[in-house]
Symmetry: C2
Subunit: 384 residues, 2 copies
């Protein structure tokens, strides 16, 4: 097994694998190390909605990057499907954002204002119009139809990314994690020593461990991005492929119901500050099931394939960390909060460019991991 | 691999493995074939309460067998723990049966009458007394404390049974199922041809496929017991081992909350006639979580390890099928409904005795698989 590469990626979530794939396409020799399995931290727990959950993701430097990432998404998906020879479940059905009471109508108006400012087409619907396009819904007071909002099946996405990486020559090592960085004193990071006793050497190492990036004890504390886990429960449903419960993604408080291929639907999600606990919480799953069966009684006839919980990497100021770290030889790509799937093409391209010596695209400039960060109003944990 | 045995058991649930273990202890050469994994049909989905859920299980010939089985249980468990060198999670904490409204109080009185008739000690508790012994409970109107009601951890039980079988020389073949019976014309069953192309020969074959026993297409229809699946959803909870949500099993409408070792608790169950669908139903899981978090708010702080659904083998007249079938060389052990864990020691001993030529114990006489069966009031699907 070769132990020397051009780029070493620690973490095989959607960000790490996007980095690795893009770098390999540029001709770099890439190795990915992953402690568990690809995508189990947060990526495959995500709904895969290609539109942010929070209005602030449309504003400021994050908004510029969100728009750039969304513009890149369709090409990214099509290229990935060709490279991996299989679908990622990209659907362009649009999304219906709904409100059931006064507070939710106010939140909907914030979303409308953000979409308007971002130049995203949408349509305001009254209760009757919502019922016309999604006749299964109950107790909806108002809606926003966003016809351009697409979605991707995150389980398929991660499988395709791993396959595209392997086909592009990336070495993916599963079940290992770094124990220490290889560096001479305070010199640059030159690689890592792994839990299986082997080493990987590379002029650039990328920390892409999602919510666990702040816990990378193999790095000095100053080099670890201050991300915290933001838990999100989901329920994967199985039903009749001929009778999907909704015709498009329906988004509201306590997450979304998102139709996928083969009678599958994704349901959730919650947003909880609950440390690194990985199991779904009783109250969260109960609330999701209660809320959504009341909104959409047809869900009562479906079955549960699995319940799960993802831990999103949230940053203190609401902006991701993408770029070189305080230590030479180490870059960071994490902190995308609820927008990791959306931002993956952008983060992948940015770090691949850095690794290839082309420098970072300007749009990720504000995400410099070396910036001073403080809690900001952007770090909402509002439950939408 | 030897293909000739004294006894062939089809199905590695709690009944099939109990039969195999007891037969091997009698010196018989035993083979078990199992399509999936031991206990996945209904056994490991069960709460493991060693007291029936339905009052009718205490009455008539079923009641006599229930009492005999329960009397055998402690010795069975201790012997099994020694044989398999590991715990089955037997706890003698007693159980609290609760009622929250008038209908449930009436059901509780039926249980009290059945316990009284069966000579089982119990104590009637008012709301205050229930709150004293289980202070976490809310909205309880009345209770019955059954101090002698024990429980077993069904996951551990099945693991121990499989291990005890293997140690006793039983050959357990996983991932195979019979395609046809080996018999000369209308002669006795002499063995089976399996899905992997191999054969198993034995003078006695036992059909112990739980709810799937009626679907044994490798047997003539007349030899298949008319069992149907009765679905039951459950939720496995994880919490702080130092702070179990209840001190003993608490039983009521929509099942029970049953503390197990290591901070685990078992929660459920429902009773649904829903065919052979194996996934838990959305509405059932929602109802269980809603009902029990209202009764026991501390559950909100626990996590979900898994949700699942077992298919219990229900018989038309409410009595199991244990004994020789209409075809020579074939015996049956299934149809225990919600009482499979309770009856396992009895069914195992009975079929082992039959296989060894000692004849069936009288207590299982009424369970003759050759009896004419018709729907009877005993086949309740009442949701307790």
């Amino acid at each position: 097994m070769p132990d020397s590469f051009d780029l070493l990626v620690v973490g095989a979530g959607v960000i790490g694998l996007s980095v690795a794939w893009r770098a390999a396409q540029r001709g770099l020799a890439v190795c990915v190390v992953e402690r568990e399995r690809p995508g189990v931290g947060a990526s495959t727990a995500a709904a895969g909605l290609l539109g942010p959950s929070e209005p602030h993701a449309w504003t400021g430097p994050l908004g510029a990057a969100t728009r750039a990432a969304l513009e890149a998404w369709e090409d990214f998906a099509l290229e990935l499907e060709r490279a991996a020879d299989g679908p990622v479940g990209l659907r362009r059905d649009g999304a219906l954002h709904i409100a059931t009471d006064t507070a939710e109508v106010a939140a909907l108006e914030e979303t409308a204002a953000a979409l308007e400012a971002a130049g995203i087409a949408f349509e305001r619907l009254d209760a009757a119009a919502c019922a016309r396009i999604e006749p299964g819904l109950r107790t909806v007071a108002a809606g926003l139809l966003v016809p351009g909002e697409a979605q991707v099946d995150t389980g398929r996405l991660l499988a395709r990314l791993a396959r595209a990486c392997t086909r592009a020559g990336v070495q993916i090592d599963i079940g290992v994690e770094p124990l220490s960085a290889i560096r001479g004193g305070d010199g640059p990071v030159e690689g890592v020593r792994l839990s299986d006793g082997t080493e990987r050497l590379a002029p650039l190492t990328v920390l892409a461990c999602g919510a666990w990036s702040s816990q990378a004890t193999w790095l000095p504390e100053a080099a670890r991005p201050p991300v915290r886990p933001l838990a999100g429960e989901y329920v994967l449903l199985a039903g009749d492929p001929e009778r999907p419960p909704v015709s498009r993604a329906v988004r509201g408080r306590l997450g979304s119901i998102v139709p996928r291929a083969g009678g599958v639907a994704w349901l959730g999600t919650t947003v909880r500050d609950a440390g690194y606990a990985r199991l779904p919480a009783v109250a969260a799953v109960r609330d999701v099931l209660e809320r959504w069966t009341r909104l959409l009684p047809a869900l009562e006839g479906l079955s549960i394939s699995s319940v799960g919980c993802g831990l999103r990497p949230a940053s203190p100021d609401g902006l991701p960390f993408v770029g070189p770290s305080a230590i030479e030889g180490l870059a960071v790509a994490t902190g995308h909060g609820r927008n990791g799937i959306i931002h993956a093409p952008l983060a992948g391209e940015a770090i691949a460019a850095l690794a290839a010596g082309d420098g970072l695209p300007a749009v990720v400039g504000p995400f410099d991991p070396r910036r001073a960060v403080a809690d900001a109003p952007g770090t909402t944990t509002a439950d939408r």
